[in-house]
């Protein structure tokens, strides 16, 4: 891979002075790949966690317990109305101080790494938005479909699994797409707790090599690519799952 593109970018640097060092220097190329992989993994896991929290939280809203519902509402309000960056700092530094460390033979390493804290913090932040989205979707499913399912002999659980949930998921998909894309962009904030994701790595690269504009262009391209792919994937899913007879 590197052998293929290296001559082109080396020549580009020699002729025009545009220093895309990550594409011809093996060490910097390795850094770049690691950063990209960390970013993609961070995005994947925090989106997954936020979706899990969203489904669970929406499910608790149907629960009989008043305390559970008030608790989930308080959680939603607390995380929607505070800065995500301070949430990250609070989780990593504030709560990280209470988690145990493991002796790694000479030095101690915290049990939960900054990468894991970033997933937890961002997942909880995004989950607060997802709960509302899923809940609104569940409520938008017409009563009549549930009655119809009941009259066909479906049990409560079967009605939820085969009728309500598939419909609710389709209804909430457009709002969900917006929120997941926004969460994917927010993962760049993991920079503040030194997670070596794309922003952090390219920042190191441009500090070492003084090629700020080129690396910034690359950073922009990376996020535009990630956001475009994510949005395109979710739109394709939305299109594939579209209910016949609704919308345009």
């Amino acid at each position: 891979m590197l052998e293929l593109i290296a001559p082109f970018f080396r020549q580009l640097y020699e002729r025009t002075g545009l220093n895309f060092i990550v594409f011809y220097e093996p060490y910097e190329f390795g850094r770049f790949l690691n950063g990209a992989a960390t970013s993609v993994r961070l995005i994947f896991w925090s989106l997954l966690l936020s979706l899990g929290i969203g489904v669970l939280g929406a499910w608790t809203q149907g629960a009989r317990s008043q305390a559970l519902r008030v608790g989930v509402n308080a959680y939603i309000q607390a995380f929607r109305n505070t800065p995500p960056m301070i949430q990250l700092l609070f989780f990593y530094f504030g709560l990280g101080a209470f988690t145990p460390s493991v002796d790694m033979g000479g030095y101690s390493q915290p049990l939960i790494s900054s990468f894991t804290w970033a997933i937890i913090s961002l997942g909880i932040f995004g989950g607060a938005f997802n709960i509302e989205i899923f809940r609104a979707g569940l409520e938008a499913v017409p009563e009549a479909t549930q009655e119809a399912a009941e009259s066909l002999g479906f049990s409560r659980w079967q009605t939820f699994l085969y009728v309500t949930l598939p419909l609710a998921f389709r209804i909430s998909l457009p709002a969900l797409t917006n929120n997941l894309v926004s969460l994917a962009k927010t993962t760049s904030l993991a920079y503040v707790i030194t997670v070596p994701e794309m922003t952090y790595v390219l920042n190191q690269v441009w500090s070492d090599n003084i090629n700020v504009p080129e690396m910034m262009l690359l950073l922009f391209m990376f996020y535009v690519l990630v956001v475009t792919l994510l949005a395109a994937g979710l739109h394709a899913l939305e299109h594939r799952l579209a209910l016949p007879g609704y919308g345009q």
């Binding site: 109305n81 609070f90 504030g94 409520e139 962009k185």
Partner: protein
């Protein structure tokens, strides 16, 4: 006749507004005070040094001074973003494709980039000082650069809100204005835009809240706002690990106390002016 299988989307809006009540705010403040008490209880080991909470009280004015800068940045950035965003939004609905395309490109570029990336670009590309032709130099303070950086993503989003609002006005309004011999600019100015204001205000307030919640990012560039000042205070007071929990929790509460009323107000406005009306 209303079909029994019609998907009713109105619960989505109703649900969001019913979620917010002052009770939740009170619950959260109580929870916060309880955790502060826990932090206080844990740190009373050595009576010779002030506890974490006492340190927080000592440094409170310093942190609040930083928070004032957060607010100043948010006000200025919002004012600028509103002006530029409305302009950009109106260009986006221009009849000429040549004018429309770049406006759409700028809107989507800033809407789809992470704030941190935009901040890095603006902070490092704008020079530290401007040389005026007469020979003098005007320094640009970092917080002004950060304000400009925060303006850009909000501008993109406001531009999209304006475009959406104009498109949501029924075609009949345009047609009847045309029937009364209004020109396009007269129609926009006297008929369409006044109707848009109502629809723009709730999302506009929502973006103000999001902007304010993003201003702590400026602390990465050592701008002395609330987070940077809190970190500085912890450093100056001896950088003991037990500071971290109460200090960051206090910052969360500070922002919550400012943003939550705005969120409640926005939801009430949304309920008052539903998009469908």
């Amino acid at each position: 006749m209303v079909s029994p299988f019609r998907i009713d989307k109105s619960p989505i809006e109703a649900r969001l507004s019913s979620l917010l009540s002052w009770r939740h705010g009170v619950c959260l403040v109580l929870g916060c005070l309880a955790s502060m008490a826990v932090a206080w209880g844990q740190s009373r080991v050595n009576p010779a040094v002030p506890s974490a909470l006492a340190t927080l009280v000592i440094w409170l004015p310093f942190i609040l001074k930083g928070f004032a800068l957060n607010l100043v940045i948010s006000f200025l950035a919002m004012a600028l973003a509103t002006l530029l965003g409305i302009g950009l939004g109106l260009i986006q609905i221009s009849l000429h494709a040549v004018v429309r395309a770049p406006a759409r490109f700028i809107t989507h570029l800033f809407r789809n980039s992470p704030w941190l990336v935009i901040l890095f670009v603006v902070m490092l590309i704008i020079p530290v000082e401007i040389r005026v032709p007469t020979g003098g130099k005007i320094p640009i303070p970092d917080w002004i650069k950060a304000t400009l950086a925060f303006t850009l993503p909000v501008m993109g989003n406001i531009s999209e809100i304006v475009r959406g609002a104009v498109l949501s006005i029924p075609t009949g309004q345009w047609e009847s204005a045309e029937g009364l011999a209004f020109t396009r600019s007269q129609t926009l100015r006297w008929i369409i835009l006044p109707q848009c204001v109502r629809r723009i205000i709730p999302p506009w307030m929502n973006w103000y809240a999001l902007l304010t919640l993003s201003t702590p990012i400026a602390s990465i560039f050592s701008i002395h706002e609330a987070v940077a000042n809190a970190q500085g205070a912890m450093e100056a007071a001896g950088a003991r690990p037990e500071f971290l929990f109460p200090f960051y929790l206090f910052l969360l509460c500070l922002f919550f106390a400012y943003i939550y009323p705005i969120a409640v107000w926005t939801r009430n406005l949304e309920r008052k002016y539903p998009v469908g009306s």
